[in-house]
């Protein structure tokens, strides 16, 4: 039993990090007032680009990771152009991009499908890794798990302890006021969407190169949507997003663990768990949030100077 729990906790970060990076990226987006529903698509393209660049570069992990980030940048720049520059409907644009990403990677992805990759490997910390329990949980993760800690810290620090971050949040809360104060709404929003998109792309790349170690069509399986839900659960705060990601990562990590020990739970019902828990969490948030959801005030509203609201 102890071994089961230790294994489970040790496997949690690999599943939690993609959700964590994606939801942190989405928080940057949505704090600037852009409702980003294309996370699923950006993750998918990131995962695809990560695996393709990794394989084609002769298994260079750094290049694969950069490829995922670059793919996230490109797709989110397209989204930003649509919703920030052209001020189009954020819901429809987001959903269309999800299907665009799914269709595009499905169409051109065949040569790279189902080719197992080595991807991220556990960092060997010598003596530290051999410490019972703690060694397995804390000192035997891969590089990205460790890197995600400063990433989250930096994003929190930027959003909540820096002037540009404050301007970004102002743009999401009250673009009229921010505009009057001389903040460029377009610059902030475009920047937020693209920066957040890079993180979401990275999340997808990590998912493919570390968690599943393979590219398969539509492999994100709704994780982008779960990240969108996580942001609501986190009340748009990076710290809470980390907690949420660990919770969901834990649930996802539980599935292969249960299968590994051979418990007789129907496979497909087991796979439903993340979605059911997400629904449950959203319901819980709905039940307890009597004082508002904590959403940025102008979330989802395109900004046109002097436009009627």
């Amino acid at each position: 039993m102890v071994e089961f729990i230790v294994n489970w906790i040790a496997f949690t970060p690999v599943f939690a990090v993609p959700l964590m990076l994606a939801s942190i990226g989405l928080i940057i987006n949505e704090r600037a007032g852009v409702m980003n529903l294309c996370a699923e698509g950006i993750m998918l393209v990131g995962a695809f680009a990560g695996v393709v660049v990794y394989i084609e570069s002769g298994n260079i992990l750094a290049l694969g990771t950069l490829g995922a980030i670059a793919a996230g940048l490109v797709v989110s720049a397209l989204f930003a152009f649509m919703v920030v520059t052209m001020r189009l409907n954020q819901v429809v644009a987001g959903i269309a991009i999800v299907f665009f990403a799914s269709g595009l990677t499905g169409l051109i992805g065949n040569p790279w499908t189902e080719r197992a990759v080595e991807g991220f490997t556990k960092v060997d910390m010598g003596v530290l890794s051999t410490i019972p329990v703690l060694g397995k949980i804390v000192f035997s993760q891969d590089l990205m798990v460790y890197a995600s800690v400063p990433i989250v810290y930096f994003v929190w620090r930027f959003l909540h302890r820096s002037i540009p971050g404050m301007k970004l949040r102002a743009v999401g809360e009250n673009p009229q006021a921010a505009d009057a104060a001389g903040v460029s709404i377009e610059f902030m929003r475009f920047g937020a969407v693209v920066t957040g998109g890079a993180l979401v792309g990275l999340a997808g790349g990590y998912l493919a190169l570390a968690a599943s170690k393979i590219w398969v069509e539509d492999m994100t399986h709704g994780r982008g949507w779960i990240a969108v839900a996580l942001v609501i659960f986190a009340r748009w705060r990076p710290g809470r997003a980390v907690l949420g990601a660990l919770l969901f990562g834990g649930i996802e990590a539980l599935i292969p663990r249960i299968q590994a020990v051979g418990l007789a739970v129907p496979q497909y019902l087991l796979l439903m768990m993340p979605y059911l828990v997400t629904l449950a969490v959203l319901t819980y948030v709905g039940l307890v949030s009597r004082t508002g959801s904590g959403a940025p005030g102008a979330l989802g509203l395109p900004y046109v100077r002097e436009d009627r609201r």
């Binding site: 169409l107 949507w225 497909y268």
Partner: protein
């Protein structure tokens, strides 16, 4: 009223006070032409001959008896999903879970077959009800969550798609599996559990059901008091509430109607095309519904027209896919390109674009 302008680099945007109908139509049409152009380009890049594209999508689909029959067969469920999306979008309920409701419509249909409910002659009607109930049941959860707890319906309906698909897999790899089948599906429906064919290709009476549904939805949205409520609630819920309109009830009824239309689509495909519950019963219908409703601007009459063209895309796309060995993602990709361009047209409808010197 002062004119409102803003600058994007060297481009100045002026918010239009109004737009002539012909210009609006022209912009939308132009955007769809651009979308189709990009799609053709994509197919050419994938190694398909331009003349083949014309033949597959126009000649063999709309000007060929067998092709046209396939288009009409595909038309019926597409009308229903398009209506489903349009009805929900009209009250600002983003039903992205059409695929899940479609699946549950098919499940509701199949349940009648599996448990052999009622005498044989009545089963096709029970399946009809089963489809409606299945679709409604699956949208009831997000409707409740949204209306009582303000849970975002985009995410809840989407999550329920995954849950519905996994439930079908669970049944097809378990209790409902047909041991005789080569791939995973239930046993075939008996003759009396199938929608009767009308004698042209595989077209069945489901087409009339779909067209009747379109007429009913049109009457409800355009000619009834409830339709007027829907319009009011959709355009300004706060004002509607202040005017004493039962906003929650209006949304609830519209959303239930949306779910039942999707469920009916599942019934049509299970009982009229597949004659079984399969893994692929709902694939692609969810996004198609959204695309159709969006292009038709949530207008039931326009849904009928747009879904006919969409059926042509399905049939032409399918034969190109099979012929050239392209993945199934192709149709969704073309749809998304057309939608992205059509969304883009909104920009030119709202703003007058001028170059600044």
């Amino acid at each position: 009223m002062p004119s409102r302008t803003l600058a994007v680099g060297r481009v100045s945007l002026e918010v239009r006070q109004g737009i002539e109908l012909w210009l609006h139509g022209l912009i939308v049409l132009a955007s769809i032409v651009v979308g189709l152009g990009v799609s053709v380009l994509l197919l050419v890049v994938s190694g398909i001959d331009v003349s083949n594209i014309f033949e597959e999508f126009i000649v063999f689909t709309f000007f060929d008896s067998a092709g046209l029959a396939d288009v009409l067969l595909e038309w019926a469920p597409l009308i229903l999903v398009g209506l489903s999306a349009a009805v929900a979008f009209r009250v600002q309920f983003w039903n992205i879970g059409i695929e899940g409701q479609f699946v549950w419509g098919a499940i509701g249909t199949t349940v009648v077959m599996i448990y052999d409910i009622g005498p044989g002659w009545i089963q096709i009607y029970l399946m009809f009800l089963g489809g409606i109930i299945g679709g409604m049941a699956w949208i009831a959860v997000p409707a409740f969550l949204r209306l009582r707890l303000q849970v975002n319906e985009i995410i809840s309906t989407l999550l329920l798609n995954y849950i519905a698909a996994l439930f079908v897999l669970n049944q097809l790899f378990g209790a409902w599996q047909d041991p005789a089948a080569v791939y995973y599906k239930t046993a075939q429906f008996a003759d009396y559990q199938r929608l009767p064919l009308i004698g042209w290709g595989q077209i069945h009476v489901g087409l009339f059901i779909a067209l009747a549904a379109a007429l009913i939805v049109w009457l409800v949205t355009e000619r009834s008091r409830f339709g007027a409520y829907m319009k009011f609630v959709g355009s300004n819920p706060g004002m509607a509430l202040a005017s004493g309109i039962p906003v929650t009830l209006t949304i609830l009824v519209a959303v239930m109607l949306s779910g039942s239309l999707s469920g009916l689509g599942g019934y049509l495909v299970a009982s009229g095309q597949e004659y079984a519950l399969t893994i692929y019963v709902a694939i692609g219908y969810g996004f198609s519904g959204i695309v159709i409703a969006f292009l038709a601007r949530n207008n039931p009459a326009a849904v009928v027209v747009v879904s006919f063209l969409m059926a042509g895309l399905y049939v032409g796309g399918e034969s190109i896919q099979v012929f050239y060995g392209l993945p199934e993602a192709l149709i969704g990709l073309i749809q998304s390109i057309i939608v992205i361009c059509a969304v883009g047209s909104e920009f030119f409808v709202r703003y007058r674009v001028r170059w600044m010197r």
